[in-house]
Symmetry: D2
Subunit: 345 residues, 4 copies
């Protein structure tokens, strides 16, 4: 079958033929229809320090996808059937560590990620453990293919019960930030403020429902947030950029007693004025990793199936599998929304 | 000044002249502009068993209102100013009992309610402790006058974090039930189902955003809820009627692990199949009384000021103070939404 | 192998020889050392209405046990090893229904219970899905064998965050009630009040740490609770008896804003004064079923391993497998604590 | 009356005669019996940058105390009576800002602190708003005098529901850290690990119940915590020192999905590896300031009245009012526990 592979421990990806995966007793074989391209895939292509430390090529990349079940193992429950359209959580967790046992599988200490630690979704076929697979129930595969990053946004926005009636500040309007804007609106935020340095991304945030879209290059974000909130600050800050400046803005913009959910990954150390910005303000900070398994997936299905949220404006580019390098270039440009691959039909 | 008073321990209310209230050092004097008429006022007028056990006439009735500050005591904080439009929580709590100290003032064991335990709001002027008074910040006094029952609805819908993306069932579409429908929509419910026996009230529930409005006289409510939720049941049931049949429907309609918030007050005992309907289902039930002081008021201000919620379709009748008996008749009819009095101008 | 079986759809149990269970790829084969005898086993023996509606004989009974792994299937994770001492959750859940996906496996709609819906633990060997199996990590098998009912007690006492520094009332001092007393003490309750009608059980509650043990036959439980709490009532009521009188005492004894966790299963309908006892008091009621999977099991391991809780005083009787009828008689007497069987050695 | 005063904007404190305070209609006049000396008092004495920016001398210092009511204003509720032994929250909040209205008075934006922003407790008499005053109900005034810092410890340990059955790491064993150790034990922690650089303080932590007391000068704290927790890390880290090294240890020692409550105040910026230490670990961080008003005070009363907690071993020094400079020297030494003044008798 055709697949996109990291062939060797060096920069680059190749489109090539690889054997179809085999299916164990608890696995499901899926024919991939659409797949999302992620910044992680770019790191793998460019073979950065993280990729070098984590991957063992050759490995088929890609971890965001939706497709159709074409075979099921003997022990797969009856809920999953051949012909069904599905997506899947790409983190395969152990189920036995303390985190898994406590309902926190998203921070399983033995997680194996498809497209990173084992063969992934940029391929015609993919084998997944049945417990990771969920029916789409009418959600199209173009949306199913982006439920992994959409789930990051749900996890970020809906952790902490500060949204309904509240002010939400989203720092960083890449695809996940734009999703977060839409989710905050759907969940009843009274005011959603978005910030980025790229005007195209700000335009996308506005389309997803941001009441105000701040250009962090020219505007003083905390000052503008104060102005827009009668001096109170934001109830919830979703930090989606990982940029140290944005992280400082997060702490300066959050209200007394407010919450900061950090999703963006800063490199190295970030200096923080903990006394003034966190302790005296009585702030709560939470680190967001992955999607809660599987509460977040269930939330997504309900928001998507009911029409509360339409994430499709964020999808700005679609490429065939063979054009993976064009897809990565679109991401590199910094102006794209979500980029997806059309693999099957 | 003119006021509506329960003059003697017997049925009836009278419109009469009474002395203006005096203002202590921590009090605010308010000229009343609009006031809401409540089922409680009807019980007082009709002098039912509860009223007989609780009131000590003569007492000026009415506990829902909005108006303008005309005088402030020496110890009143600077936030409250003459000329300001305000509303107030009508439950005056002790601040020293365990409940008050734990942040649960709504269940203070020493609560005194205006219009019940002391002179109330159906009058040209009213003195209130400053701690109970809140600025309207642009909310009109017609809406300010109904923030007491609106707050009951907020307290009912928003206790338990089950609304965003969830299915909410509202049993009983009197004014508070109709408010609940609108709040559930504003807070991001994926599906809101309302039920009543009165077609006019169901029409009002539809206007407030109910996706489905069930006539409990002709429809099997739990069966219809199951049908509308793929057999799962409702995530949150708001019981606003107090009718034993509706309470049974609440338990039969809630999903496994769901929540029932009870606001409607049944008379006497209600027989419940606790094993099958509550314990095996892992259900949580919560009794709603009043408004959380003052979290609920703050929530309301944000939903109203931001335009997330417009409660005005629920207000179906406005009368002058002198027409209190017409106002009570409108409530008695069972087909009215919220009924308010215009007192000042 | 030897086992205790419900052979036919009629009253009675038999000790007999049955084939050893086979082990699938995701299963673990366990040699049972100790097993707990439960009221449910009595219902099965006596073939009551519930048993008639649920069981399909022949079936090996028993669902509480601990033992040693003697074989593992090919897909079983490396954490589980031959020779390891383990216990297991007896509810085998589907993993795919909404409740399972939301982390509420204890109310899975497709649960199959060992010893009820499939062969159980009163046997020399038992096959269990590996996901249900947990290492004992030094906890003895006599305690491992009772972690199922102990988990009911943990689930009841620790749901709601009312224990540390609070007053806990335990109604019903059977084994699970006595466990609840010990757990409340270990979790920092300031005052634990227990109630029962049997002096032996009250004595056991006292041994587990109850500050006061009320005889409900001769004492007015709500009055005594009021006296012991300066008129406030209990922060948390754990209702473990299922008796309608105790349920009424629960509502009468809980403080304003308090919590009632219902574990005992009443038969038929229980009439409740919802207005006065639940709504005006702002009370929360929660139905406890099973153990949270697997948060409750993890909590138990920590309380037991650290020595915070010693449940062994509650175990009053130990019988060999062949003496199952003596074990059931001990339970019938109403004066026993926990009864266990010694099966392997 | 005698009082300890910051007379002028320069280093130093003086013991002098000042006029007795007057009592407004909502105030209570208290004869001080015991008062706690705090690091804040040392900052005021030494006239550091914070003190220079905040205080307007002359001002009577001291904010931790207990004493006897000797007079009440006309509007003071009947719960407070002449002759009653009381303590008080020293933060006088506005009651009208968003934080106060939402039940978060501890982060009121208009707080005025006794002994800092207005005359304080190191005096024979003190006037307090009645809402801040709480009866001791049998708690001795030596303990009542330290309920302010004890409340900091309660707020730190009991925020987040991670204590019962969990592992708690306390970094910094000054008086509040030592209190935290005792509270964690009383609330049912399975393991309490304390760390400091001073052997005397570690000895005090052991006396308060620490299972392990680590000397951070000679031991690798995160490595030791890992060892003591089978590699999992601590469920809750209470950071009481404000030292950047300890803050780094907090992040390195907390388990995946764990919680860090920060009370100690670092100076300047602290560099944090947010990606690895917070985001990938799914950690929650909370800034602790003051005491929740008044949930924390209520908790304290219950733990103290029931005997769950005895904080008295932490009180290592008692001085008369005149010996304030000796008291400050004891604090400066770094080896003292809690230092109190005996003022009345």
């Amino acid at each position: 079958m055709r697949a996109i592979r990291k062939p060797r421990p060096e920069p680059g990806l190749e489109v090539c033929e690889v054997p179809e995966p085999t299916v164990g007793p608890t696995d499901v074989l899926i024919r991939v229809k659409h797949a999302g391209v992620c910044g992680t895939d770019l790191h793998i292509a460019e073979w950065d320090a993280w990729a070098q430390s984590r991957l063992h090529p050759p490995v088929v990349v890609g971890h965001e996808f939706a497709g159709e079940i074409v075979a099921v193992g003997d022990e797969v429950p009856a809920e999953l059937k051949v012909g069904q359209l599905v997506t899947a959580e790409g983190h395969i967790v152990c189920g036995h560590c303390r985190q898994c046992r406590m309902g926190d599988g998203h921070i399983c200490r033995n997680t194996r990620i498809i497209g990173v630690d084992r063969d992934g979704a940029f391929a015609e076929y993919l084998a997944m453990p049945s417990g990771n697979v969920m029916g789409l129930n009418g959600i199209p595969t173009t949306t199913g293919a982006i439920m992994d990053p959409l789930g990051n946004a749900f996890h970020t926005v809906l952790t902490g019960d500060a949204v309904s009636g509240g002010t939400v500040l989203v720092l960083g309007c890449g695809p996940i930030g734009c999703f977060a804007v839409g989710i905050a609106r759907a969940a009843g935020a009274a005011k959603v403020i978005a910030s980025d340095i790229n005007p195209k991304r700000l335009e996308l945030a506005r389309r997803m429902g941001a009441h105000a879209a701040l250009n962090a290059t020219t505007e003083d974000v905390p000052a503008r947030v104060a102005e827009l909130t009668q001096g109170e600050g934001a109830d919830l800050v979703c930090e989606m950029s990982g940029h140290p400046d944005a992280i400082r803005q997060a702490f300066a913009s959050v209200r007394l007693g407010g919450r900061i959910n950090l999703l963006g990954l800063p490199q190295g150390e970030v200096p923080l004025k903990l006394s003034n910005d966190l302790i005296f303000k009585g702030v709560t900070v939470y680190g967001v990793i992955g999607r809660r398994m599987f509460e977040t997936w269930h939330q997504m299905q309900r928001f998507l199936s009911s029409g509360l949220l339409d994430p499709t404006p964020v999808v700005t580019h679609t490429f065939p599998l063979e054009a993976i390098h064009d897809a990565l270039d679109a991401i590199r440009s910094g102006a794209a929304g979500k980029v997806i691959l059309e693999i099957g039909s």
